[in-house]
Amino acid sequence: MLEVKDLWVTYKSRSGIGVSAVRGVDFDIPDNSFLGLVGESGCGKSTLGFGIAGLLDPKRNDVSGKVILDGQDLYTLSKEQLRTLRWEKLSVVLQGGMNAFNPVLKIKQQFIDVMRAHSNQSTSSMVDRIAELLSAVQLDPRIMDSYPHELSGGMKQRTAIALSLVLHPRLVILDEPTTALDVVVQRSIINMLSELQRLQKFSVLFISHDLGLVLEVANRVMVMYSGQIVEDKPASVIMDDAQHPYTKALLGCYVNPHAENVSLKGIPGTPPDLRGGVQGCPFAPRCSFVMDVCFTKTPQLVKCENGLVACHLYRQDEVTVE
């Protein structure tokens, strides 16, 4: 349904050397899938999410590559075409949802604004739709008459999810949707989300820094590091069959709360500076399996047994050819 081809996003900077936050990313999101995108802060995962949604400001970013949604390249559409496509095919839920609502308009009004921008419906049918959505996210439909400041953080985030579904989108991009919430609320929202996804069969791109959380809800996981996808595997196998040293290290940061002996490991070092280019594998300086070739040649994302991985460890042939 959605295909991303060689997407590059560079943040422009006054000093001339831009920061490339997304560096040549390729992947696809099939219909009815729950895809998790994991990485640490600054790895470009949000930028990638917004890049897919066509929401990056061309004044601040240089974008190249293709994002093809149902056969249309988002970056070749006119402004008006892009406006009508937004939310009808592709919607967004922001982090925490705290400021996602206009503080001076009632919740109902903000749903109605969206529906009005895309279709002509009677007010009563729109109100019915809002009530239906709010019930679907386990909220009392009466809160539609509230102002955003009258709702709690969890309620706002549920409302934001309801709002994202109002036009039956094909893809919902959730950028750290539960990061600002406590674990109990987080859990109930995540369960509700995956339930909705199963019922309504839209696709989800779930962006998070919490690998444990993503492993539980997603059916496929992509791990991102320094603007590149380093591993892409079904969620069911990545736990046991993580190949990229970064994924392994991330899994070392995650513990099973049911295990009797728990050992936690951090990842030493910090991600590389993305100004200008990065030579070789960006993870090489922090990698415990590092080889000489890692510093000179950037590994490509290639097929492996269960998915895709970008690491020289699994490309013996290439190393010998060099």
């Binding site: 009508t84 937004r86 400021n99 206009n102 503080p103």
Partner: protein, 330 residues
């Protein structure tokens, strides 16, 4: 409703404080006007005590204890009796003020509103098209004009457009050959005389309105709900007005109400330079003639109008911002 009552109570309280301060402050000054006049007369020869008594009675100098004075003062204010003006003797202070008020309210009031509306709209436009040609020019130009001193603009306009070019009258509120009445030649004359003062207020005020709105709007445009509104595919007009400008307006409303409240005081410098028969000119006359009753009443009027304007601002903000109305959640 509770919100309105609370604000109303606060208004009544502050008005009372203003009236009381207006009573106390002059009494803290040493001496009284009669003594001052007496000292002047005494230089020309001795003044008989009856004459001094007569002067005190004529000026209505206070008698009795402070509480009796205060009570009499409050009763007089409620009856609209503010005493007799020294400089326009024997006219009462109230009638002098009521003559000057319409001039200021129409000219300064209308231009302040116009300046605010135009400035704010241009500010919205500049912020929405940030960094484009209009924004770059407007920001620099209006930073420049808002730094102009009021009287300097007034003098420059008089010198070039009135004194040298003779396009506009040099001073006054209407042509001296006409007597104030509601007929066409008089109204024409009033409008003609008000053009230069209006331009002065407009030029010096619009920069602040534009830059204030532009900055607020740019801040608001960085909010998540603006980003989301765009992602929702709302029309850019809806995003700009309903989502961005509507929120950026909120702090501006209070500023605007404050400046409307100050309108009653007139623009002292502008009216003095143009000899425009409004409240500001009246105040400068009162100051130079040591007309205490008039001055005191003018201060009271200005204070009360600022308080009323603030009250109005609170009401309007309450309508525009649900968070203020509920008065609780923050």
């Amino acid at each position: 409703m509770r919100f309105i009552l609370r604000k109303l109570g606060f208004l009544v309280l502050t008005v009372w404080v203003a009236i009381t301060l207006n009573f106390i402050i002059p009494r803290l000054m040493p001496g009284n006007p009669a003594e001052a006049m007496m000292a002047k007369y005494a230089q020309q020869g001795p003044v008989p005590p009856q004459q001094e008594k007569a002067l005190e009675l004529m000026l209505g100098l206070p008698t009795g204890s402070l509480w009796q004075q205060y009570w009499g003062y409050v009763v007089n204010i409620i009856h609209g009796n503010f005493g007799v003006s020294y400089s326009f003797f024997p006219e009462s202070v109230l009638s002098v003020i009521l003559q000057a008020m319409p001039w200021t309210l129409t000219l300064v009031g209308l231009v302040t509103i116009l300046q605010f509306v135009v400035g704010t709209l241009l500010g919205v436009y500049a912020a929405w098209h940030r960094g484009k040609k209009f924004d770059s020019i407007a920001t620099v130009l209006f930073s420049f004009t808002s730094a102009f001193p009021y009287f300097w603009i007034a003098l420059a306009l008089i010198y070039f457009l009135a004194f040298i070019a003779h396009w506009f009258p040099i001073s006054g509120g209407y042509s001296g050959s006409l007597s104030p009445s509601l007929n066409l030649p008089f109204i024409e004359s009033v409008v003609y005389h008000s053009i230069l003062p209006a331009i002065t207020i407009f030029i010096t005020g619009i920069g602040g309105s534009l830059l204030g709105m532009r900055n607020n709007m740019i801040n608001t445009l960085g909010e998540d709900y603006i980003f989301l509104a765009r992602a929702e595919g709302l029309k850019s007009k809806t995003v700009a007005i309903r989502y961005a400008a509507r929120n950026a307006m909120l702090p501006i409303v209070t500023n605007f109400a404050m400046s409307l409240g100050l309108v009653v005081g007139g623009s002292l410098l502008m009216e003095t330079v143009f000899a425009y028969p409004g409240m500001g000119y009246l105040m400068s006359t009162a100051i130079s003639n040591q007309d205490y009753p008039l001055l005191q009443t003018l201060f009271l009027f200005i204070t009360i109008s600022v308080l009323l304007a603030n009250f109005a601002a609170d009401m309007v903000t309450g309508i525009l911002d649900p968070r203020v109305r509920k008065g609780a959640a923050r």
